[in-house]
Symmetry: C2
Subunit: 294 residues, 2 copies
């Protein structure tokens, strides 16, 4: 199947590569075209515009940073909309606003082009290994048709509901990630300040009813002062803005998420925007008198 992939970031590159490895002819596009070279070296064609990438494709994937970026790729000059036609399906792997998603899908529907919102979870490792969780919104029939392709990219591909439902589910996912990171930051800091070995605490707690993916994975990074991303603070702040807007529209209070959001913004202010989300620990540490100890 002719496939196009737009957005050669830390997630898009390995996902596109897995499509090539599965034997699909692939065309790639990126705003900064140099990022297409690793895929070109594996046999991908390189398109100069989103419209050109989508021209001969049956499925065009999008994986860019934020809502305005997806808007530009679809609706902007030389955007996908210019190649939109019956038989083309747009699948958005970005994490963006559910509301905007519904607008984009409608614009494409006007051209008889199908749409799935399909944000992913699992990080660059999951992207490389094809073990992502993929949360899909859109028509069930379109989902079923695209499932074999999506299963190249992820090991847990779930149809959540109509257009926008994938993005809504992803916003919930990020809510949990954010709150759990804050739990790690204040729990580990409490252990340290209260004079017990934080690593022993993490070991015991992670194995029981206090355990989380975050504690098992980000906890040791906090303890080792390893702030490499994983998943960047700048991106969780973007995602929490989406979650907050969603929650306000849904009239659903998310107090702990809002608290985590504010502290992630403090992490950005402290210069940790491009660090991993575990750098939230630095914010809590800086609040404490003995924070210079370690």
């Amino acid at each position: 199947m002719n496939i196009a992939y737009i957005g050669m970031g830390i997630m898009g590159q390995p996902m596109a590569l897995n499509l090539i490895k599965a034997g699909h002819p692939l065309t790639v596009h990126n705003r900064t075209s140099a990022k297409c070279q690793p895929l070109a070296a594996q046999g991908a064609a390189v398109a100069k515009t989103p419209a050109a990438a989508a021209q001969a494709a049956e499925i065009v994937f999008i994986n860019v940073t934020d809502t305005p970026d997806v808007e530009a790729v679809i609706l902007g000059p030389q955007g996908i909309i210019e190649s939109a036609r019956p038989g083309l399906t747009v699948i958005d792997n970005s994490t963006i606003s559910p509301d905007a998603t519904r607008v984009f899908a409608q614009k494409l529907k006007d051209k008889q082009t199908d749409y799935l919102d399909a944000p992913v979870s699992g990080g660059d490792i999951g992207a490389q290994n094809g073990t992502l969780a993929i949360m899909v919104g859109g028509k069930k029939s379109v989902f079923k048709r695209c499932l074999p392709i999506l299963e190249i990219l992820g090991s847990k591909v779930v149809h959540v509901g109509p257009i926008g439902a994938g993005q809504t589910c992803k916003a919930c996912n990020q809510l949990f990630c954010a709150i759990h990171a804050l739990a790690c930051a204040e729990g580990i800091n409490l252990a340290r300040q209260a004079g017990i070995d934080p690593a022993t605490m993490v070991d015991v707690v992670a194995s029981g009813a206090g355990g989380s993916w975050a504690l098992a994975n980000l906890g040791p990074k906090m303890l080792n002062n390893d702030m490499d991303p994983g998943f960047m603070i700048d991106l969780i702040v973007k995602d929490l803005k989406i979650a907050n807007e969603l929650a306000q529209n849904a009239k659903s209070p998310i107090p702990a998420t809002a608290l985590a959001q504010q502290l992630f913004v403090a992490a950005q202010a402290a210069g940790d925007g491009t660090s991993g989300t575990q750098a939230l620990y630095n914010v809590i540490k800086k609040l404490t008198p003995n924070s210079t100890k370690k």
Copy 2:
């Protein structure tokens, strides 16, 4: 080894039973003596006072609700202190204040009686199956001497540090449990209010980077409106009071814990004190305009 167990609650009864099953002569005591009958039926002696229970024991366990209860058992009239002597070790499985723990241990040390604080995690199921996590504070030599007995009760028995370290670790554990329950409550409510199937969201998120023990175990209970404890709201409020005092003494801010604490108090106010911690969901649901829908 002659062992005594004081406190025949939902945790103490099955833990005491496991000691009998392992072949140890056991004496039990409970303020309300009727609760000793199931153990008496299995061959345990029943003592009328804590002092009498400890009289012939090498190890006396305590498993009662709160700091004042432990104080009464150890230092009150006919308390353990009246039988305190060299060769007796007091092991406290309750979840109480680390500071008070150090006071109790010192009073017993004055009588050459050893002390371990050994709060547990894993619930009534873990108590029944002997698969508790046990976080132990006290002298390493005392820990090593008592380890074979503790390993009857738990599958992860960890020496955390000196007297009080077990309680400090448990306070951290409860911090995670409380924050994770709040994440579940607001995440599931957001999914519901935003119009996606909350069960699908829980399924996808629990399997990935947003996952936690709480989401996998309390999430489905929230979805099914099953509010049976598990672990009671009244008890997590008690434990969060301990965590909050610990954090203030350690000068370590725990903002998300404090937020969860307030909302658990709201759950108590709503009459859910004896429900499981998953009843925090009711608090968030009541805040939302469509909360009567489900």
